[in-house]
């Protein structure tokens, strides 16, 4: 009853919400939340296409790798955030400009 276009629609919504989160938030952790949403929208696309178009499991594999990469990214990213907070006492993205050209 619910075909591919439904899943693509949900994925699109997730993607734009993710972009909006990244653009509107100033907190690095919040930006990471947006990144997670974008990654999940991509993974959902993969699985949906795998189900409705290609009929094999390659899409699942890509989703799994996306989950793995998201986990790694979250671990390292949050470690950096916490370390940055310890040093600068803020995690406002606009404050992080020591390497500015």
């Amino acid at each position: 009853m619910f075909g591919l276009e439904w899943y693509l629609g949900i994925s699109l919504v997730l993607f734009f919400v993710g972009i909006a989160v990244i653009l509107s938030r100033k907190n690095i952790v919040a930006i990471l939340l947006g990144v997670e949403l974008i990654l999940n929208s991509a993974a959902l696309n993969f699985v949906a296409y795998s189900r409705f178009v290609t009929q094999n499991l390659d899409g699942h594999i890509f989703s799994l790798f996306i989950i793995v990469i998201a986990a790694a990214e979250a671990a390292v990213g949050l470690a950096i955030v916490i370390r940055y907070f310890q040093i600068n006492n803020t995690i406002h993205v606009d404050e992080a400009k020591e390497l500015r050209g």
Partner: protein, 189 residues
Amino acid sequence: MFLNLLFLTSALLTVGCSVAVLAVKNLMHACVFLLGALIGIAGLYATLGADFVAVTQIMVYVGGVVILMLFAVMLTGGKDHVSKTQKLKSLIPAMGNKTSYLIGCLTALVFFLTQGYLVSKLLGSIEVQKQVDTFSPTVQELGELLITNHVLPFELSSVLLLGALVGAAIIARPRKARPQYEEEAEEHH
């Protein structure tokens, strides 16, 4: 029927929670909504017959990523700081007053419509199975694929995870004292 119910609840959970992530001010709440969205996506996976991916989604995100984010938010105060030098406001229209928001929304709408057009064009051009009812267990086939066709990314991701593990441990490790030369440099100033 049950699948449709599951899809509807999951889709609602996903969309609603993800919009809430954008909408709420409190970052801790945003994290919890993200958790809801991720569980909803796991439900969507389940409706797509991706049982293993669905459970992996719950395992990794609920058991790991979200808790880490909650920790991070708690340790960093959980507030969106007000920038002292709000340069973005002058640079990007979508960041400042109502007009700029309006322009930003219009851009987004155009972009969104373009994307929608692209998706619809894509759907028209490829052969799509309308109704696929049979589900089969995927675990065994996934395992075989992981160690045959996709063995290189599989091994690379193990290296990546090791690197992330070590890197995160090293970065977040509390350092005892600052090096001697830094203190001396400060004394000079």
